[in-house]
């Protein structure tokens, strides 16, 4: 029981849960940039369990529901929240937003608003790792809905063919928007597809973060050694698809049942059962996390809007001229007359 990683896994999951709750609050306060905010509540074990198997130098891409994954990899919640609010002090200076957070320093090659859009990049990152002999793995995180995208199969085929240090992680929260996985495919045993392409593949129940971490570690070690892998983590999307979706397409009974698969609660129970932490310890930890995340809202709200002039920046490398603004061009054109 000593050396258990569960306290850390719990803390990481709690941070994700609380961060996401605060994102919801930011929206309710009208201070998020738009409403395309996809919360990963219920999926914490996938983010935290898989990230526990990653190492410094590893890279990853995420989908539109990627806040938790990046937090689990060490993100600064302040800069995340600020980005979600569209502020200059956010990770992407307010240009990306919730669905395009990235950070090269932490190996985050980017969240993606295109379902499946970030998947093939890990094949390229795997080529780099092999070329540079860096020992890094590159991990693509995506939802069950992305199994509808052909590019997933193209990417898995390449990874298997070239034996790249690459891992595909499918966070199966049972839904793509309003479509339940069995309404999107005839065979929801998603890992079977990966096997057919020659990858090492498993499905793991996301209820217990230790199970996820164990499965992920085994597969990730394999990937690092040249056996690319696929892991599906079964979980349940506790709330709507995005902030405005009330999930009318799901029965209440189903939701009640689904929300029982709560990895945060489960870890909490296990910690207490095992005598690793007391209820009081946990409450104190939760309160510390809550305070940190409250701070993130304050940070985001206090942040400045991006400057108008930044609009033309970073389309190309800073060594290159910026695109000419319409106004400037019109002035030139009309100055002739």
């Amino acid at each position: 029981m000593k050396n258990s990683t569960l306290p850390k896994l719990y803390e990481d999951m709690r941070r994700v849960r609380t961060f996401e709750e605060r994102v919801g609050e930011l929206f309710v306060r009208g201070q998020s940039a738009g409403s395309m905010l996809h919360l990963s509540i219920g999926e914490e074990s996938a983010a935290v369990g898989v990230c526990a198997a990653m190492q410094d130098g590893d890279t990853f891409t995420t989908h539109h529901r990627g806040h938790g994954i990046f937090l689990a990899r060490g993100a600064d919640p302040n800069r995340m929240m600020a980005e979600i609010a569209g502020k200059d002090c956010g990770y992407c200076h307010g240009k990306g937003g919730s669905m395009h957070i990235a950070d090269m320093g932490l190996g985050h090659l980017g969240a993606n608003a295109i379902v499946g859009g970030g998947i093939p990049a890990v094949v390229g990152a795997g080529l780099s790792a092999r070329h540079q002999k860096s020992g890094a793995v590159s991990v693509a995180f995506f939802g069950d809905g992305a199994t509808g995208q052909g590019i997933l199969y193209e990417s898995m085929n390449m990874a298997a063919l070239w034996k790249l240090p690459v891992m595909f992680v499918c966070i199966n929260n049972q839904y793509g928007m309003g479509t339940r996985i069995d309404q999107a495919t005839a065979n929801p045993n998603l890992h079977e597809r990966a096997e057919a392409f020659g990858l090492a593949a498993r499905t793991v129940d996301g209820l217990d973060v230790e199970d996820v971490a164990e499965a992920a570690t085994e597969l990730m070690d394999g990937a690092r050694a040249g056996t690319p892998a696929f892991l599906a983590v079964d979980c349940y999307r506790f709330y709507g698809h995005a902030r405005k979706d009330k999930s009318p397409y799901r029965a209440e009974a189903e939701e009640d049942e689904g929300r029982k698969k709560d990895p945060v609660l489960r870890a909490r129970e296990k910690l207490i059962e095992a005598g690793l932490m007391t209820e009081a310890d946990l409450d104190a930890l939760d309160a510390t996390v809550a305070k940190e995340m409250d701070g993130s809202i304050d940070f985001a709200v206090a942040g400045e809007e991006p400057q108008m002039a930044s609009m033309f920046r970073d389309v190309y490398d800073p060594s290159q001229p910026e695109p000419e603004p319409v106004r400037v061009r019109l002035d030139r054109v009309l100055a002739q007359g």
């Binding site: 052909g150 928007m177 479509t179 309404q183 108008m308 319409v326």
Partner: protein, 327 residues
């Protein structure tokens, strides 16, 4: 249909449900079009009216959705496929441009592909770089594809109705900022013909040629020009970009001698370029000024509302530009 006040969204739905009632071969397919009712609610309740075999929820497979629609259209159905955001057109470009657009020609005229690809585009929801684009330029540059972009409630209804009668594939791009706009559908008003532009405002000084949401920006700008700056601008709503109705534009520009084109798509190589080139070619001797392009900036769209709003033409920019033309 009785005269009714309705929204752009509901006018679209009405056109779909009427077409499905009248013609059993019309089917709707796409992501979330059924049980969910469409990401923007256009297909709400159609599934209860017409059943899941005619209102088909698909996996998230844009390329195969378009490809399946092509196959369905070639074998007797009239599919209306929905692409949730025009930003996802990249995944479908092969099926759209190499298949749907070319099948009639490649096969020597044996068969057409009478499908409609409904989608929506544009800014206004802080949806970021991959959910806010105006990509009609790719479509307009692809021979074989018709392209309709309704700006009004009337046109949402009539253009979609007409698109469903076309013998060739129609890309039908709605604007996400218009779904809740209200307007009146009056069955006694003869709808404009498919392929015809509409002059929504007369004006002797300047002709503004535009489409989709920018029609409203242009109209607002024209009002302000008239009331504050004494400039009378005509506003032409193209309605369809293929076919392109030049006959309506030509005499107006010949008379005014000045033209501005307004498009939300990025400027370089886009619809505004085609319109400006075309007007110049056809009306050169009548032009006092170069045709002016007011278009999207040559940049991606930001999530920051401030940057987003200023990445595409605003009524202010239109007024400011017109004033410079007369300075």
């Amino acid at each position: 249909m009785a005269m009714q006040e309705t929204t752009y969204r509901d006018a679209l739905k009405l056109a779909l449900s009427e077409a499905m009632t009248a013609d059993d071969s019309v089917i709707v397919m796409g992501e979330e079009v059924g049980r969910y009712g469409g990401a923007y609610g256009v297909t709400k309740n159609l599934i209860s009216e017409f059943g899941p075999e005619r209102v088909i929820d698909t996996p998230i497979s844009e390329a195969a959705i378009v490809g399946a629609a092509v196959g369905a259209a070639m074998t007797g159905l009239r599919p209306v496929a929905e692409l949730m955001y025009v930003d996802f057109i990249g995944m479908t470009m092969d099926q759209l441009a190499n298949q749907a657009a070319k099948i009639r020609y490649m096969f020597g005229g044996q068969i057409g592909v009478p499908m409609v690809l409904r989608t929506q585009g544009g800014t206004g929801r802080s949806a970021g770089a991959q959910h806010s684009q105006s990509l009609e330029g790719y479509v307009m540059h692809t021979p074989g594809l018709r392209l309709a972009m309704p700006a009004t409630v009337e046109d949402a209804y009539h253009l979609l109705r007409q698109a469903l009668q076309q013998p060739d594939p129609v890309v039908f791009i709605e604007h996400k900022g218009l779904y809740t706009m209200k307007g009146v559908l009056d069955p006694d008003v003869e709808p404009a013909e498919w392929g015809r532009a509409k002059v929504l405002r007369e004006g002797k000084d300047l002709v503004i040629v535009t489409y989709s949401r920018q029609v409203h920006h242009a109209l607002a700008a024209a009002e302000e020009m008239a009331s504050k700056h004494g400039i009378e601008a005509a506003v032409v709503d193209l309605r369809t970009l293929n076919p392109l109705d030049f006959d309506t534009i030509r005499p107006l520009v010949e008379q005014a001698g000045r033209a501005m084109v307004v498009s939300e798509g990025v400027m370089t190589g886009g619809v505004a370029a085609e319109l400006a080139a075309r007007i110049t070619e056809e009306c050169f001797d009548f032009l006092e000024d170069p045709v002016v392009r007011v278009a999207g900036e040559d940049i991606p769209i930001s999530v920051s509302p401030l940057l987003e709003q200023n990445s595409v033409p605003t009524p202010d920019l239109i007024v400011e530009t017109a004033r410079k033309m007369f300075a």
